[in-house]
Symmetry: C2
Subunit: 231 residues, 2 copies
DNA sequence: AATTATAAAAATGTAGATATTTTTAGATTT
DNA sequence: AAATCTAAAAATATCTACATTTTTATAATT
């Protein structure tokens, strides 16, 4: 998760701690989309005054995970199919662009990193609990994609990518459960990653970019179906 | 300027008012890059308590215009040539992508809007003061580019664009003075815009995208020279 | 059922308390 | 004497508690 790390070696303020916790709680669904975030509850739950709590909320408003209406407080940002499609399409196009730049600019260390992370991801096996499985695969999957994107060499593009990733995160959770617990889905992803790695190492920008776009768009119909089923 | 408008018909909180004013003051250089933002000064200057002031600062940290170090307060974000190049390159690539999508997705209203805004921009003349000239040309130039980008139809891409625009704004101010007060520079821009409009209306995605990229990158050497001269 | 007045709840803000960092001046060492 | 260290003082950042304003809920009235 992208948590705006301002400086190393410092103990974070209460506002920042509350920001981290609340962000996590929104992403993992402890606070549901559209929920009222009542100041009195937040103060109790995060054991903090209203001032720092409002700081945390303000930052999450800037990140689009919370909405504010003046004099009426804060709510968890709504989720919708339309927004999901917009986020996924925007992110897929952006990552396709980043991959093109990465192929142009990435060095040998970049290649090595990708190969390493792809390898680690491909052998997520023999895990104790299903929950472990989900968390480990998710972490390694993210690490793989981060390694690919790093090659573009642009802090700003990586920041923008990170911001869209955060906004996608609540939708991604839905897809993740579907994918990680299906052997065939996992195998499909494994193949897509392999194809992508091959195109990257061959420095085939057009192919890699197209593969990245479609790889990132595959969750859209799945999430659509799952969210439709819920409603 | 992108000011995170949360809801219509509401009187903004003091925190939001301070956010707007401080953002403006940072962009127009009233607060210089690297300046300490002393809470006691901010409180006096914006006539507000520390709580709401910190809210405003937190949002600007999220937008990368302010930096925070725990227990040591806030500073105006630094400026550097490296950052400028990164922002401009990232934004140019992003706008090139947005143009490609806009050509694919834009409707007739989009075309009409572009033609209208381009026309208005081309005839910025007979203005009273030089300052008016600068402000009017800047506003119309922004409106033209906004109209082009709108066609992509993606709120998220437009948000990301807006965020990069805000981050570019302090550098842009430097370039703006150079360009608006030079007849030859203005004429050059006029031609670039005309070429871009022609490519857009012809729905030539590759050409329009390339034109947009180079159009947005032309300020880089100019800003580089001007900032080097200052230092 | 709709309207208004009142009470309760909630959001937002200020002032002052607390904790941390920075400065200053003096003491100690090289 | 210059540099380094130390301890107190001042400045600053951060937080809490309470005050004020606004919104929402309740109850009484038309």
């Amino acid at each position: 998760m992208n948590t705006l790390t301002p400086h190393p070696n410092e103990q974070p303020s209460l506002a920042r701690q509350a920001y981290r916790l609340l962000k996590q709680d929104i992403i993992n669904g402890s606070h549901k989309p559209g929920d009222k975030l009542l100041m009195s509850h937040l103060k109790d739950h995060y054991d903090i005054g209203a001032g720092p709590m409002r700081e945390a909320l303000s930052q999450l408003v800037a990140e689009r995970l919370v909405t504010a209406i003046s004099q009426r407080g804060f709510r968890v940002a709504e989720m919708s199919l339309d927004e999901m499609k917009d986020i996924y399409d925007a992110r897929a196009h952006l990552e396709a662009l980043i991959v093109r730049l990465a192929i142009e600019r990435g060095d040998e260390q970049w290649e090595a990193d990708i190969i390493g992370k792809a390898h680690t991801l491909a052998r997520v096996d023999e895990v104790d609990t299903p929950d472990d499985m989900l968390n480990i695969w998710d972490a390694r999957h993210k690490a793989f994609h981060a390694a690919v994107a790093e090659g573009c060499g642009s802090s700003k593009l990586l920041e923008v990518r990170s911001s869209l990733l955060d906004q996608a995160e609540r939708y991604r959770q839905v897809w993740l459960r579907h994918t990680v617990f299906s052997q065939s889905a996992l195998e499909g992803k494994r193949q897509e990653h392999q194809q992508l790695v091959d195109a990257l190492l061959a420095r085939n920008a057009e192919q890699a970019s197209a593969l990245m776009y479609s790889h990132l768009m595959t969750p859209v119909p799945i999430i659509t179906a799952l969210l439709d089923a819920q409603a």
